[in-house]
Amino acid sequence: MEEIIRDQQAAGTAAESSVANAAADMAAKIFGGEAQPNAMAQAARVLKGAPEEAPAEQPAEPAKPVFEETPVDVDSVTAKLLETVANFNGTGFCGAFNIRSNGKSLGRQSTEHIHIDTKTDNPGLDIHIAPGTRGEEVYIPACVTKAGYDDLVYNDFFVGKDADVVIVAGCGIHTETGEPARHNGIHRFFLEEGARVLYVEKHVGTGAKGPKKVIDPQTECFLKDGAYLEMDTSQLGGVSSSVRKTRATLDGKSTLVIKERLLTDDDETAETFFEVELNGEGSSVNLMSRSVARGNSHQAYQSNIIGNTICYGHSECDAILAENGRVDAAPKLSANSEDAQLIHEAAIGKIAGEQIMKLRTLGLTEEEAEAAIINGFLK
C-alpha cells in the first residue's frame, strides 16, 4: 500500500506538489488548539445563585481503545487533501472512518461502538455512537477532485449518553481545469445527556487559482442536559467562496463552544452565520471567531445568541485586515429572560504598528513580523 501511495505521489505534477505543500504549510500554521475545560456552566450557576456543586467523584478513565490501521487506497492528490483536513498518514485510518471522494466512498469502517451506515433517504451517512463510548475518534472527511462536480452530503451524528469522542470531518477541493467545484456538507449532531464531542472541521482548496472552489457547510446541533460540544473549524485558504450556517439548540445544562479560524485572500469570500438558542437553565455558549482578510477578499460574520432562560452566552469576533481585505461583523444578542447573561466583543483592524515594531526589535523583518502575528492570531 505504501508503495502505491509513494508511486502515485511520485507521478504527481510539480504544480500539484507545490500546491499541496502550500496547503500543508498553511495547515501547519493554523492547526492546533485542544479542547479546553469550560467554566461557563459554573458562571451560569453563579448567576442563578445556586450553591457550588461538589465535584463528582470521577470514575477511573478507561484505557483508550487501540485499533489496527485499515489501509485506504487513494490517489496522490486525494492523499494530500486528506493529510491536510484529516491528518491522513498516507496509508490508512484507525478506528471508525468513511472517506468520501467525488460523491463515492473510498473506504469505510465501523467499530464495536461506532456504526457508520449509508443513509436511505439522502446521500450521506448516519453515524451512531453508542452510549458510554470513550476515547474513540471518527474520521469523516470528504474530497472533491473532479472539476465541475457539485457534491451534496447529509451526515447525521447520534451521540449516545455519556459518550466522549472526537469527530474529524473537513473537506478539501482540488481542481486544475477552469470548471468550478463545490462541496455542500449538511451535518446534524444529536447529543444525548452527558455526551461530549470535540468536532474538528478543516477546509482547504488547492490546485489552479482560476476555478471556483466552493464549500458551503451547514450544521445543526441539538444538545441535551449536560452535553458538551466543541466545534473547532478552520478554513485554511484556497476556498473561493464559502457560506457557513450553524444553528444550535441547547437544553438543560449543556454547553457549546465554537472556535472558528478563517483566512481569506485574493478575491475569496466567506460568510458565517451562527444562531444559538439557549433554552436550558444553565446552558451556555461561547463563540470565538478569528479571521484574517487579505488581498481583495471579503468576509461577513453574523451571529445571534438567543437567551430564553437563565443562561450564559458569549461571542467574540476578532478580525485582522491586510491589504484590501474587508470584513463586516454583525453580532446580535437576544435576551428573552432577565436572567440571560449575554456578552459580545468584537474588534476589526489592521495589525497594530507597535506589534510589528516589537517583533522587529527582536530581529524579524517587517514581512516576517506580519506573518508571525497572523500565524499566532490564527493558531
Partner: protein, 245 residues
C-alpha cells in the same frame, strides 16, 4: 561603544524633541538616562533602537554608522530594546514570544529558567496568552525575560520600573546587577527611580531635549537624589558637572 553625535529630532509639524545631543555610551557600563517627563528620554531611547529616525546627527556603534539602519538591522547588530509599555499579542503565548526573542525554540528547562529569573512561576505562565489578561507587572516581567534571552550587547530599557510592584522591582534590580556582573553587556536604562540611579555607572540628565549634566554615579547621584551641590564631592575639588561641563 555607542557614540551619539549632534542628534536632533523634530517630527514634521511638531516641536523639536531632541536638540543636538551628543554623548557616548561606553561598553560594559550601566548608564541611566534620567530627567523630567517630556524631556526626550524615550525618544532618544527609540532612536538608539531605530524605532524613531533622527532628523539630523548620527549614531555610531563600534565604529559602524547605524544612523540609517532600521530596527531589524539594529537588532541583528546587537541592540535590544525593552518597551516601557510592553506590546500585547492576541494568540501569542509567553512561550511563543520568548521563542521569538531567543531566535529559536527554547527547551523546557531554558524556558523555566528565564521565567524563574524574572519571578514568574513557569507552569502558570509559559502557555498563557500575552494579551490583556496579563497584568502590567506580569507582562513587564515577560518583556524583561525576552530581553535577557536576546543576549544583546547593548540593551535599552525604557522605564523598566513602570507598572511593577515592589517585589518585582527588587528582583528587577537583581537582574540588572547580575547582568552587569556576569555578562559584558551595556545597559542603557531610562529611569526616574532612585534605586536604579544608585546602581548606575554613569548618569546622564536629559531635559528639554538636551543633554544636561552627565557624569559618574558618585558625582551625579548626590546631585540628583541628595542635597544638590552641597553634597557633591566634585565641589571639594573645584570641579562641576553642571550644564556647562
Amino acid at each position: 561603544m555607542l557614540e551619539i553625535k549632534n542628534l536632533s529630532f523634530a517630527p514634521e509639524g511638531d516641536k523639536q524633541i531632541l536638540k543636538n545631543i551628543s554623548l557616548t555610551i561606553p561598553d560594559g557600563k550601566l548608564v541611566v538616562l534620567t530627567g523630567p517627563n517630556g524631556g526626550g528620554k524615550t525618544t532618544l531611547a527609540k532612536m538608539i533602537a531605530g524605532i524613531n529616525m533622527p532628523t539630523s546627527g548620527s549614531l555610531i556603534l563600534d565604529g559602524v554608522d547605524i544612523t540609517d539602519k532600521d530596527p531589524t538591522e539594529r537588532a541583528k547588530l546587537g541592540i535590544g530594546y525593552a518597551f516601557q509599555q510592553p506590546v500585547r499579542f492576541k494568540g501569542f503565548t509567553v512561550r511563543d514570544i520568548l521563542n521569538l526573542a531567543n531566535g529559536k525554540p527554547l527547551t523546557e528547562d531554558q524556558l523555566d529558567e528565564v521565567l524563574l529569573k524574572v519571578g514568574l512561576e513557569p507552569k502558570a505562565y509559559k502557555d498563557r496568552d500575552v494579551d490583556t489578561k496579563l497584568s502590567g507587572g506580569e507582562i513587564k516581567r515577560i518583556e524583561i525575560a525576552g530581553v535577557l534571552l536576546r543576549k544583546s550587547k547593548l540593551t535599552v530599557f525604557d522605564e523598566p520600573e513602570a507598572g511593577i510592584d515592589l517585589w518585582s522591582f527588587n528582583s528587577l534590580i537583581s537582574v540588572f546587577e547580575e547582568l552587569r556582573e556576569t555578562r559584558e553587556v551595556t545597559l542603557v536604562i531610562i529611569s526616574h527611580q532612585e534605586r536604579i540611579l544608585s546602581i548606575a555607572d554613569e548618569i546622564m540628565l536629559i531635559q528639554d531635549g538636551r543633554l544636561g549634566m552627565k557624569g559618574p554615579r558618585e558625582i551625579m547621584y548626590p546631585l540628583i537624589c541628595g542635597d544638590g551641590c552641597e553634597s557633591c564631592p566634585a565641589m571639594e575639588e573645584g570641579d562641576c558637572y553642571g550644564r556647562d561641563n
